[in-house]
């Protein structure tokens, strides 16, 4: 498979019956998203995808009234896609998946624990990481130290909204974080509430794609924070984002397992 572009195009249009293909290609030395209709030249497709194609899919989807769209997806994008399908934002029947296994380098960048898509069409499956070093260090700290760490980090926030704009599962057009109903500080930086509310909102959706952290110009270790809250969600309710079946535990009833009421 020396030209992945050809293979992707073949899979999308010839084998799986897509009408369009969403992928990344190089043009004039730059990598950018490409939306190609069946029969058009797919160009120079790249597999080192620099952002979440699902984010782009979500943004163009409302304007695509019909046709099947093939998307090149890594494991995190597959999970994001599932979350969007589960919420009825995207119709799963219209999406054709072309699975891409992440390279070692990509896995490392995300400290990714779950790097292999359910169907690998391109690339070879790599081994996931066991843990995120920084989360481990933070968990070992005292509460005060942890607060100091995060206050110092969040002070760097420019309120550029890169984290939410580039997040595949952050679905709102109007964001409450842009207002001061809950986020007090009108200026920059926006304070703790901004980041805590985002953490809460993402707790039942985040796929740990790491896009927020990569796009943050202030280098706040946002992915680490996500990994920590995802682990909490798993510990509490056994929930992991990323499939089309499981409803977020935050929306359902206790179903018998009552919160332990303190005896008194």
């Amino acid at each position: 498979m020396n030209d992945p572009g050809k293979e992707i195009s073949r899979l999308a249009f010839d084998e799986r019956g897509a009408d369009y293909l969403l992928a990344v290609r190089e043009e004039y030395g730059n990598a950018g998203p490409a939306f190609v209709a069946k029969g058009e030249d797919v160009g120079d497709i790249r597999t080192d995808i620099p952002y979440q194609l699902v984010t782009i899919l979500r943004k163009i989807y409302p304007y695509m009234e019909d046709g099947k769209i093939a998307v090149v997806i890594r494991r995190c994008e597959e999970k994001a896609l599932n979350e969007l399908i589960k919420r009825g934002i995207i119709d799963g029947d219209r999406i054709i998946r072309i699975g891409l296994a992440c390279s070692e380098g990509q896995i490392e960048a995300c400290r990714c624990t779950d790097p292999v898509p359910s169907c690998v069409d391109i690339g070879s499956p790599g081994k996931g990481w066991n843990e995120d070093q920084l989360s481990k260090e933070l968990s070992a700290m005292s509460s005060e130290e942890r607060l100091d760490f995060w206050v110092a980090q969040f002070r760097k926030c420019n309120k550029c909204y890169a984290c939410s704009t580039n997040c595949p599962v952050c679905v709102c057009d109007h964001c409450v974080l842009e207002e001061c109903t809950f986020v007090a500080e009108k200026g920059i930086p926006p304070g703790m509430a901004f980041h805590l509310i985002r953490a809460y909102h993402l707790s039942d959706k985040c796929t740990e794609c790491g896009e927020c952290e990569r796009s943050c110009p202030a280098h706040i270790p946002l992915l680490t924070f996500r990994k920590m809250t995802n682990r909490d969600m798993k510990d509490l309710y056994g929930y992991e984002s990323g499939d089309t079946e499981t409803v977020s535990p935050l929306l359902t009833t206790l179903e018998g397992d009552l919160l332990e009421e303190e005896e008194d």
Partner: protein, 139 residues
């Protein structure tokens, strides 16, 4: 530290815990004057965002009180509360905000004494934890 006057917010649902708080009043049960009640229709309408807003700006503690599981005026409303708040507490802990500053409990309309106990013990707990460190932090 002796004159630390905790500022505490309590969300009480209209049907059980607010009524329980009323009963505590009617029964003249005495308790520390640090807790300020916001009446909501159901504990399930308490947005975690409110709690985050309050603690990140220096409120020393937040109580979320609702009907006992099974008694929610809105059937399973409080089941959601029972799921959201523990998660919120974990998130706050991850950020270094002591989750003991947030307390979820159930107080029925008949439990004036329990209300008194919850309030008194929570104020005690907050006194032990001291002022919210975020009171002083300027971003």
């Amino acid at each position: 530290m002796t004159d630390f006057k905790p500022s505490i917010l309590a969300f009480c649902c209209n049907w059980c815990s607010y009524a329980g708080a009323d009963l505590a009043g009617v029964s003249r049960l005495q308790m520390p004057p640090n807790v300020h009640v916001i009446r909501v229709m159901c504990s399930a309408s308490v947005k975690p965002e409110y709690v985050i807003k309050a603690v990140t700006q220096g409120i020393d503690g937040v109580l979320v009180l609702g009907c006992h599981i099974g008694d929610c005026h809105y059937l399973t409303g409080n089941h959601r509360t029972a799921k959201r708040i523990p998660l919120l507490q974990k998130i706050l802990d991850e950020a270094g905000i002591d989750s003991r500053r947030i307390k979820l409990d159930w107080v029925s309309a008949a439990e004036g004494e329990k209300y008194q106990k919850v309030v008194t013990e929570f104020v005690e707990e907050i006194r032990r934890l001291g002022p919210n460190p975020l009171r002083e932090v300027r971003f």
